[in-house]
Symmetry: C2
Subunit: 160 residues, 2 copies
Amino acid sequence: MPTGTEIERKFLLDALPPNLAFARRRPLFQGYVALDGDTEVRVRRSPSGATLTIKHGSGEVRVEEQLELDARRADALWELTDGRRVQKVRREMLVDGHTVEVDEYSGALDGLIVAEVEFDDEDEASAFTPPPWFGREVTGQSGYANRSLSVHGLPAQDPA
Amino acid sequence: MPTGTEIERKFLLDALPPNLAFARRRPLFQGYVALDGDTEVRVRRSPSGATLTIKHGSGEVRVEEQLELDARRADALWELTDGRRVQKVRREMLVDGHTVEVDEYSGALDGLIVAEVEFDDEDEASAFTPPPWFGREVTGQSGYANRSLSVHGLPAQDPA
């Protein structure tokens, strides 16, 4: 899954919208094997399997590479993510023709619900008007990146 | 290639032993995608292909997992190793029935030659008598780990 530059906007939600109640729930467990500057090495486990993702986030070199993990390797690498894990349930919906991933966190982050909207380009992203049931926008706020949530929990100013 | 606990001893060599002159040369390029505490995420490229290795080195959890990389992924991940690379030529030989990997570094580490001897258990390791053409033992010296060599070069007290 090679990716170009992803353009996303991220918003907090107070609650799941009612029209998501029957959407497919996809439980995701993510843990970080290594965090090194702008590079993260992540294991993601879901009912459909496990992957290792290497992301390098900023600057001129942007990379996101994903490798399949068999069950044995997934177990072994998961051990290395102790203390740096998040668990959430992902649901997808369409808003104004854009795919929105709604992630409902559990465990230590119980109560946190985040909607990520994906766009094809910057123009689309800036033209998007969030629906009234979206809460505060947190696009680009590193405290809401999964890597930060997994290590530090919610940003201090945001009790869940 | 799942590995249990590797037992190795490491020695510096002043020069390649003559009986290695005709051994198969295996050029290896290693670079580090992420270094995080005891965990390292390494890309290794050789004529036979590229691998991603995740190693966690100490404490109760010891892990070493290796994943094959196709050429495109190898290229993309290699970009992330800038400034943290080593290149060397590996040759293998037998000494007293033990496999010895002789790594001759080049580039910034030109002149460094390291022999790693592999053992099945601690008893074998301590019974091993290095041949006279082995130099100083550097087993367990972190300055001679590839991750350190790739970032810092040779340990300060050891001009090549």
